[in-house]
């Protein structure tokens, strides 16, 4: 990966609370402020779309940005999380928080199974095998009775969270989504700045050396994959509660491609890149929706421009300019 060309110490900036550098702490506070203020200015539904997309991208970024593995099948975990959450919510009348957690666990368990098969590969082989496995999940969802086939699971009631908070109003739903996003964001940050995360960095920097020190590197990659897929499941599940629907759309390879695009646009391997990427791609989808198929064309164009002009993504480029780690 080209980013490792300049050996700037990753841990040189003394980490403060939660391992945030000062610049990151400022970024985090700004993000919190935006999360609190924006729903009074913009549609909460639109913001929830951004937050769930951002959580999904952050989860994906844990693999590509910090383990160096490009998964082309993350939709499987997102989509299955959505199905299980919607199903248990609709037919078991589960608590929304429990249903979302169940969706996350589904993503994580599926991640454990598929990751076990894929994790020994790296580079393009890992991308291809995750894509293939995710396609199998797609066909499973197409055929399995519980997913509702082409219709999906529709008219899912939001219900209540934690037994006491009714979610039918968008603002109530919004605070739950915001809480889930922040918790997921902080969890990922903690993972990166933990003893475990230190080993992940070592594996990414020089895997044979990590092995020669006695690290069974596959275990570390697999655990990172399970955390990533768990949070992808949470993101999919949360989306299904917000919109009351879970469809095949969530498990398509196009969805897997979206999260790759989102993360690349924002800047992979950066803390805020996936969030910025989610803002850009979700806004594009939202405002370009009226032009129909032009959304896809524009997205393609943005992708090409990003890859050619800002290789490091928006946040990556800004961070490089300011010489900060963001």
């Amino acid at each position: 990966m080209s980013a490792s060309a300049t050996p700037v110490a990753l841990g040189a900036a003394r980490p403060g609370l939660f391992g945030f550098t000062r610049a990151q702490a400022v970024g985090f506070l700004l993000m919190l402020a935006a999360i609190v203020v924006l729903p009074h200015v913009l549609y909460p539904i639109f913001l929830m779309r951004i937050l769930t997309a951002a959580l999904f991208a952050c989860a994906f970024n844990l693999m590509i940005g910090y383990v160096g593995l490009l998964s082309f099948g993350h939709a499987a975990f997102y989509g299955m999380g959505a199905y299980v959450c919607a199903w248990t919510l609709k037919f078991w009348h589960l608590d929304a928080a429990a249903a979302i957690l169940l969706g996350g666990l589904t993503g994580g368990l599926l991640g454990l199974a598929l990751g076990y098969l894929a994790i020994r590969r790296s580079g393009i082989y890992f991308a291809m095998i995750t894509l293939a496995l995710a396609q199998m999940v797609y066909f499973f969802c197409l055929e399995a009775p519980f997913t509702g086939g082409e219709d999906g699971i529709q008219q899912v009631p939001r219900g209540t969270a934690f037994g006491i908070f009714p979610l039918h109003q968008d603002m109530a739903m919004y605070w739950l989504v915001a809480g889930i996003f922040i918790a997921g964001f902080l969890l990922i940050h903690r993972v990166i700045h933990s003893p475990f995360g230190q080993v992940l960095k070592a594996i990414r920097e020089n895997e044979p050396r990590a092995t020669s020190l006695g690290y069974r590197t596959m275990h570390y990659k697999l655990i990172a994959f399970v955390i990533s897929t768990f949070l992808s499941g949470i993101a999919g599940a949360t989306t299904s509660v917000v919109f009351g629907i879970a469809t095949l759309d969530g498990v398509t390879s196009a969805r897997s491609g979206d999260v790759v695009l989102t993360t690349l646009v924002g800047g992979l391997g950066t803390v805020f890149g996936p969030v910025v990427g989610a803002i850009v791609t979700t806004s594009m989808e939202n405002y370009l929706a009226q032009f129909g198929s032009w959304v896809t064309v524009t997205q393609g164009a943005v992708f090409v421009v990003c890859v050619l002009a800002f290789r490091r993504g928006i946040v990556g480029e800004i961070a490089a300019k300011l010489r900060l780690s963001l």
Binding site: P7, V8, L10, G19, S194, T211, L213, G214, I223
Partner: protein
Amino acid sequence: MSEILLETHGLTKEFNGFTAVDNVDLQVRAGTIHALIGPNGAGKTTCFNMLTKFLPPTRGRIHFKGRDITGIAPADVARLGLVRSFQISAVFPRLTALENVRLALQRARGNSFDFWRSETALRRYDNRAHQLLFDVGLTGLADTAAGLLAYGQKRALEIATTLALDPEMMLLDEPTAGMTHADVDRIVELIRSIRTGRTILMVEHNLSVVEGLCDTITVLTRGRVLAEGDYATVSRNPEVIAAYLGSDAPELAHA
């Protein structure tokens, strides 16, 4: 004579019909420094790769501490106390020198799977890591990214990291290659100071280093063992001299 710590029987590696290591029987005695020398392409690194399980042998068996380790995973070889260094210096370039050493301490002492804890939990290894950096002459460079260190310093850091595991046996692949004279002297001193209680198998092209440091020498050419013994014996062996004269290291002839 002390017991044999590492032993191979008929160790062989073939790459698409080309035999890089050919039926090698090696015996390394505990507590000794054993050199593996030979011209470029003799199969020294390939041997190391097989001993540490980075490459599966085509044939042959490997025993370490009396235990057959032919079939185990490379990380588990390290856990048994057989730790290698690499011919191309192996550090974690974007981590600091301190973090490099800490990674080894962390592996040996646990909590590497703790993903829910802050990395400040690793500070308890700082004292030991600073001590190891001091031992290899890297005091004051603890917070420097390993990738920014000079070549000799990287090799020293690699040794500090390996030592952090307190391995019973170390495999060093050309620890002094590409170094200045001063750096070579420092590394030789370092190896001498860490040898107590340890067994070392090293690949080394610099024959004055071999002469000064090693108890036993195995000469490899084209994958085969050509000669074995102490420096005086080996350096007088006409076949060894011929093999070396035909290559890039004529110094042996004058030794």
